[in-house]
Amino acid sequence: MKVSVIVFPGSNCDRDVAVSLEAATGSKPTMVWHRDAQVPDSDLIVLPGGFSYGDYLRSGAMAAHSPIMRDVIDKAKKGTAVLGICNGFQMLTETGLLPGVLMRNASLKFVCRDVHLKVERDDTMFSRGYARGQVIRIPVAHHDGNYFAANETLERLEGENRIAFRYCDAGGALGNGANPNGSQHDIAGIYNETGRVLGLMPHPERLAEPALGGTDGAPLFSSLVEALH
């Protein structure tokens, strides 16, 4: 399985996600600099977390127009799997590969802690290692994670079963302060129309091996290996 991780100035989770990917796939992903024009032939492209371009203008807005992104968008539209984590999710919405936008957290505070997520689908290449309705613990670390979209977009996402993960409490219940950022419909991650592009604010790579204090993020990477090997 060939994986490319795109590195932007200000990316800071690129090496973390590379470690998780290497543990799952057995081979090192290719690190691709944002000024390159072409992503090498890949089964999966990862847009990592961080603060590309210092979050200038809007989080992910400058990265969305990096030279490499033209090819990422092109390949995504042709069906290459794309995973955007945190800042990567912000980039995916800024490019229009995913709908909506990640606004400033409702609390206006940077939130950095473990949250619980309810797995909404277990039939995608990203989620087959989980069970539908399963509650997993994954860290978030962001200032702009407050998912917003027009009502008709939210209805479409719900109707097309495109919510990947929702914030919940340890028992899987929604509401009651479980949502760390004010996201509409408690959305932590969404899929595109084909289920081959996933954007999520939480960081599965930060709890993907026992030494990190948990492994709930690991199935996301092993799912991809099973689906794309």
């Binding site: 203008l57 809007r58 807005a61 127009h65 919405t93 800024e94 709908p99 909506g100 936008v101 606004m103 400033r104 957290n105 409702a106 609390s107 206006l108 407050n146 917003f148 979209a149 027009a150 004010g182």
Partner: protein
């Protein structure tokens, strides 16, 4: 020519920063204020001399990069046009 661009959140989009500013103004003792909304102000120098073409150019800049049309509106004035 110089473009002066204002980016604001669309009506109906929650503006937690605007709300925080409103609360701070209230705490400072400013009475009778409400509806505080914050946004961005951007200036761009333009080589374009034709006002109509300059307007088109600035509108394209706003739609492609400066504003996120999902949540933001833009307006601008062209100085010297």
């Amino acid at each position: 020519m110089k473009a002066q661009i204002t980016i604001t959140l669309k009506n109906g989009v929650l503006d937690p920063q605007g709300k925080a500013i409103e609360h701070a103004l209230d705490a400072l003792g400013f009475d009778g204020i409400g509806g505080v909304r914050q946004g961005k102000f951007i200036e761009v120098d333009l080589a374009e001399a034709d006002p109509e073409r300059a307007r088109k150019q600035v509108a394209a800049m706003c739609e492609q990069l400066l504003a996120n049309m999902v949540i933001e509106n833009y307006s601008f004035e062209i100085e010297g046009a």
